[in-house]
Amino acid sequence: MRRLALAAVSAIVAMRAFAQEPGQSEREHVPPDPPQTRVHAMPYHEMAEMMGMDDRRRFGKVMIDRLEWRDGDSSIYEWDAAAWYGGDFNKLWIETEGEHVGGSSDDARVDVLWDRIATAWWSTRLGLRQDFGEGPSRSWVALGIAGLAPGFVELEAMAYVGDGGRTALRLSTEYDLLLTQRLVLQPQLEVNAYGHDDPERLIGAGLSDIEIGLRLRYEIRREIAPYAGVSWSKRFGDSADLARAAGMDTDEFSLVAGFRLWF
């Protein structure tokens, strides 16, 4: 009996809902006619071309993070630059860093890497590194990660394996502190460590050297920023001993000035 009453009530409710008069919008709405023609089925690249819309497009960027002069006994010019080309997931990533002392190239490195995004903030990097300059040149296989750590700290950590079982680690990190919308203070840190001695390149096993920089740049445009700052570097352990033996300083403090550019 109760079940019957319930059924009756729900039937009435349902009927009322059904019997509800169509509103003015429903009476006036006219569904469109079916299309007379259809676009032929096509692969993504053809559709992207036709739409003039392509979320797989590749871009490139050249970044000269540091192109700078350092004060010292002899004038030293230093560079740190990178370039990438590719899509959202895979990029060819090339970076180079080094210094010229008195016209001769001294300690330079080029990495050619495949950058593949792995997580929201990190990508993996795999490729080759070549060292040039003083002493014999060295070749390495490179493997590492790069990305944005919490707190907007840019970080790159690379491990290298070279001929003769040589190994190396390199960590570089930087942070942009906005003093104004265009005046930016950038602390920067780079650490190098090696698994084996390489006396011909003044490298000893273990922690080899640290460089800390603090640069203040003014972005005339985002892409063009002159800067000035300070840099301090220090060699450690066997690397320091090798440098001393070669008559070089093991730590160095310098004023720097240069340009940061990208396009």
Partner: protein, 574 residues
């Protein structure tokens, strides 16, 4: 409120030259100098947009030399005009629109908000093959609806460089909300930069155009206000997420000069009325990337329609119009001049014009409001002690939200955040408009007359998340770019519910082609019928759709560069 004497912007040229930056933002006082040679047709500066009356139209698309800021540029124009001419149609007519492409590249025109056969919708690759250079395509469809709409290119970035115009469809039997006079107010964002370069720049440095970021000085100001630990905790929280609370617009006044009816703020477009008249203003946001907060100091705005659909009149001081949205408002001005003030959501600039009983009058132009900061509520997170929101939360919670389900792809590398506690917030005017002392329109104020187009209860629900990665400038639905996603499939004639959950920190205008989006409140009750729906950060917005339009349709974010970057889906109704 209106002061004839307070001339703020309409400065002579020489005065403007003293302020290069100012000139750029405000544009030339001389107006959009449409230097017309060749096939372009001359248009007097500041004149009313040309109007064409149907049912037969012929539109010719050409490049046109223009100069808005002192720099010569090329726009894409329709019949020699930017914006394109107003098309006036009558409800019930079958219109024929021939479009001739004189460009060196393909083009297309999409009739935004029109319910029409899929092959007339104007999206290359989905509706048709586009309009090749040197050819003419004929659109023909029956206009069953009425109201204010607009049209724009759906090819590449042509919309950014001028191919947009208004459409007015006159209602059979007369307007529900009568007026003595009407003006169309079409807002847009002109740039002297090449849009291809803007997009590439966003890919290279996504915060390139944001000159409102928080600085060290802001930190010390916060320390003074909140104490060191609160200020530091706030920076830590944003830093941990690697999110920027000032990210309100991807492209800003740094690159944009905001236009009203194709006219710069300095050139001051003026609409004439007779005192005491009821004036209907047809507000269209035809910009590529900009949200505008519109008000007319001294006048109440009575909103009578949105997206062409008549609503129960509601009177406000201000409204936010998202990219591609449309509002019709009625004002009753007295014997004075009034500024139409449309500031961009990030407060980096404004479009401006004047309503006046006589030409040459001006009124005071308000200062830009302060920039707002995104708060935890904007991310659909639990409001903790560090919430800066000016909002009153007590009236925000409209019922318990269903559990959020993130698609597997959202765990992937192209999604930078996920909202776990989205809220309905239909009564939230949005970031930067909360508690500003003015009565600001919200979606909760809208009530479309005549009810929904379909009484049926939605038989199923699709939950779609708006996702992205700001730093990498990748935008998507459910963590999948268009190129990686299968089409969404609707069954012909089904009534379905779409729940959009905004997992990003940006406000997105979402446009479903071919079918109406009928917004419902948290209780499932019909609110408003729209073609473009703003979804705020951390919001779960629900609308119902009747899939009565066979064919392939575009479904996308109407921020042009978000669409390009992947925030686009194909919808197939079969």
């Amino acid at each position: 409120m209106a002061h004839e004497s307070a001339r703020i912007d309409a400065q002579p040229m020489d005065r403007l030259k003293q302020f290069g930056r100012r000139r750029f933002v405000q544009g030339l006082a001389g107006g959009a100098l449409l230097l017309a040679y060749g096939r372009g047709r001359a248009l007097a500066a500041g004149s009313a947009p040309a109007e064409l009356t149907g049912p037969d139209f012929h539109l010719t698309i050409d490049e046109l030399p223009v100069n808005y800021t002192g720099a010569a540029r090329r726009a894409v124009a329709v019949n020699g005009q930017v914006p394109a001419p107003l098309l006036r149609m009558r409800q019930g007519d079958t219109v024929t629109i021939r479009v001739t492409n004189n460009l060196r590249e393909p083009t297309s025109i999409h009739w935004h908000g029109f319910i029409l056969p899929a092959d007339m919708d104007g999206v290359p690759g989905l509706s048709f093959n586009g309009i090749a250079p040197g050819t003419t395509f004929t659109y023909r469809f029956k206009v069953n609806q009425s109201g204010t709409y607009w049209y724009h290119s759906h090819s590449r970035f042509q919309e950014q460089v001028g191919l947009y115009g208004p459409i007015v469809v006159e209602r059979r039997g007369g307007e529900r909300h009568g007026a003595d006079r009407e003006h169309t107010l079409l807002l847009s964002d002109w740039t002297d930069h090449d849009p291809e370069h803007i997009y590439a720049t966003l890919k290279r440095q996504s915060d390139y155009y944001n000159f409102g970021k928080r600085t060290a000085a802001d930190f010390f100001a916060d320390v003074r206000k909140q104490g060191f630990s609160a200020a530091a905790a706030d920076r830590r929280m944003w830093g941990a997420m690697r999110m920027n609370p000032t990210d309100l617009a991807d492209v800003t006044g740094y690159a944009y000069t905001y236009l009203l009816n194709g006219t710069t703020p300095a050139a001051n477009w003026t609409g004439i009325f007779s005192p005491g008249e009821r004036v209907r203003l047809r507000l269209i946001n035809g910009s590529s990337m900009s949200f505008f907060d519109v008000r007319i100091p001294g006048l109440k705005l009575t909103v009578v329609a949105t997206d062409g659909q008549d609503v129960e009149p509601v009177t406000v001081d201000e409204l936010r119009i998202g990219t591609a949205e449309v509002y019709d408002v009625i004002v009753t001005p007295g014997d004075a001049a009034y500024s139409v003030f449309a500031q961009s959501m990030d407060r980096s600039g404004y479009a401006r014009g004047t309503l006046a009983p006589r030409a040459g009058m001006t009124a005071e132009v308000p200062a830009l409001d302060a920039r707002a900061l995104l708060a935890m509520t904007d991310m659909g997170m639990n409001h903790s002690g560090m919430d800066h929101s000016q909002m009153d939360h007590s009236n925000m919670d409209q019922g318990a939200m269903p559990k959020v389900l993130h698609a597997p792809a959202e765990a992937g590398p192209i999604v930078d955040m996920r909202t776990d506690m989205p809220n309905a917030r239909l009564d939230d005017p949005g970031i930067g408009l909360r508690d500003n002392g003015r009565r600001v329109l919200t979606y909760a104020d809208l009530a479309t007359l005549g009810g929904p187009i379909d009484r049926r209860v939605a038989a199923r629900e699709i939950e779609l998340h708006l996702t992205g990665h700001m730093e990498r400038y990748i935008w998507s639905f459910n963590g999948q770019k268009f190129s990686d996603a299968e089409p969404l499939r609707f069954t012909h004639n089904e009534r379905l519910r779409i729940a959009l959950v905004n997992d990003t920190m940006m406000t997105h205008p979402i446009h479903l082609h071919g079918m109406w989006s009928e917004i419902t409140d948290a209780n499932g009750k019909f609110v408003a019928r729209k073609h473009t729906v703003i979804v705020q950060p951390g919001q779960r917005l629900v609308y119902e759709v009747t899939a009565d339009a066979l064919g392939s349709w575009a479904y996308h974010c109407h921020l042009l560069y978000h669409m390009e970057a992947g925030m686009f889906r194909e919808v197939v109704v079969a």
